[in-house]
Symmetry: C2
Subunit: 229 residues, 2 copies
């Protein structure tokens, strides 16, 4: 039976502790701030107020039985390093996951052997910046170092043509894995309601309609070419 | 020429302002804390220290010429509402994007007409919690209300069989859009180095190898069935 420890109950830590508990996991939530502990005490199995840089206290609350620890204690890099080092080296916790505030923080966490590093603000800032710069791109999701999944508005030169005719794969070496399209709702005429539907693995005979959003997968540089049409 | 205003230079705001500037965009970065302003002054076109709830000051620094404003001023919901309302209603800024700390914050931002709401911590907490609960699932990306893209370790019953034989689409009604696989690097025998490659749109003849990670697209409930094999 895995016990999950969440150290640091900022927006990220609080959400992780709550979501894991909602799914029936046993969570030990820890924070130095008693207000944060108070707010979560009814939502998790165990909630403890303490300073997590105190090695003795960590041992006393049963940290050694924890299988996975998530550390998100804010901008104080020194604290997060101290806590992660102790969890990994002394308490030998199998899976230590840390939230990093920036690249420099992430590098040091890597050096001390943290198993997984998460950058929520930086990653979503990157996604937002990419979509602001290219207004036809609705989303970019990184699949690997070289490949992305991109959601992009269908260019006007595609309207009314079938996927077969456009032959995206041949021209751009990317694949359309889905199309998001607004279709009118079958309601009475006063309600001009549209509903978004997603067509997964569209057939080659599928005709592109103005307003379609194409979801494509391929090498990053190939996907960028479509944006230039 | 679009001017982007970034109000609030926490981890998220700072990253957005810096990334947009790196791509050549004109950015007006604003924060009440002069240290934050000092740290960014050489990276953006304009950096101003001010309290953004001060309507008069916002006008004086040219906020009316801004096309897109990104507001991320932290946990004080009242401040973020005040700032967003003024940007949207009084200054008539076309595109106002706000970072929300939680669902309650997001609902109020929606009511006042903010164009886009971002939840970096909640969204990545959700992705982490989902992958912790199901250890064979490496990632879950939401494509729409009903569909996900899921990265999942290939179950042992697939090893050595071709995609055609497994017939994922028929059995589970999901599509494999890519396979991530570790292949040995062609180096001298002392270096047992592996390199991750991504096979996009694998052919039906592709044989699954132990360790393969399948990237699939489909309805959320159908994808969850694969995890149960
Ligand atoms: N040594 C420590 N021991 C226990 N809790 C700590 C310690 N240091 C900081 N904390 C707690 O960690 C939490 C960090 O939250 P904060 O909002 O500052 O940062 P964050 O988690 O990186 O940001 P976000 O809110 O975006 O998730 C605070 O609730 C704070 O009380
Ligand atoms: N009224 C205001 N006017 C200008 N700046 C403000 C105002 N209120 C808060 N700020 C600034 O907004 C920033 C908010 O950063 P903080 O780290 O608290 O939250 P956040 O941006 O939600 O979190 P994250 O660091 O996760 O992005 C601070 O730098 C603060 O000085």
């Amino acid at each position: 039976e895995h016990v999950y420890a969440v150290i640091g109950l900022g927006n990220f830590g609080n959400a992780v502790a709550t979501l894991l508990s909602e799914k029936g996991m046993e969570v030990l939530a820890i924070d130095a701030d008693e207000n944060k502990v108070e707010n979560i005490v009814n939502k998790v199995a165990h909630a403890v107020q303490m300073n997590a840089t105190n090695e003795q206290s960590l041992k006393e609350i049963g940290m050694e039985d924890v299988h996975t620890a998530i550390v998100s204690v804010g901008d104080d890099i020194a604290s997060s390093l101290l806590i992660c080092t102790y969890l990994k080296d002394t308490l030998k916790i199998k899976n230590v996951i840390a939230k990093a505030t920036d690249q420099k923080h992430a590098r040091v966490l890597e050096k001390i052997g943290v198993d997984k590093i998460i950058f929520p603000e930086y990653e979503s800032a990157r996604r937002l910046a990419d979509t602001l710069i290219s207004p036809n791109i609705f989303d970019i999701i990184e699949l690997s170092d070289k490949h992305n999944i991109m959601e992009i508005k269908a260019p006007s030169s595609f309207f009314g043509r079938t996927l077969e005719e456009i032959d995206i794969r041949k021209r751009f070496d990317v694949n359309i894995i889905a199309i998001k399209r607004n279709v009118p709702n079958a309601k009475d005429d006063f309600e001009n309601d549209f509903e978004e539907t997603t067509i997964i693995s569209p057939s080659p005979k599928e005709q592109i309609v103005e307003g379609d959003v194409l979801i494509m997968i391929g090498l990053k540089e190939h996907l960028e070419n479509i944006e230039k049409i």
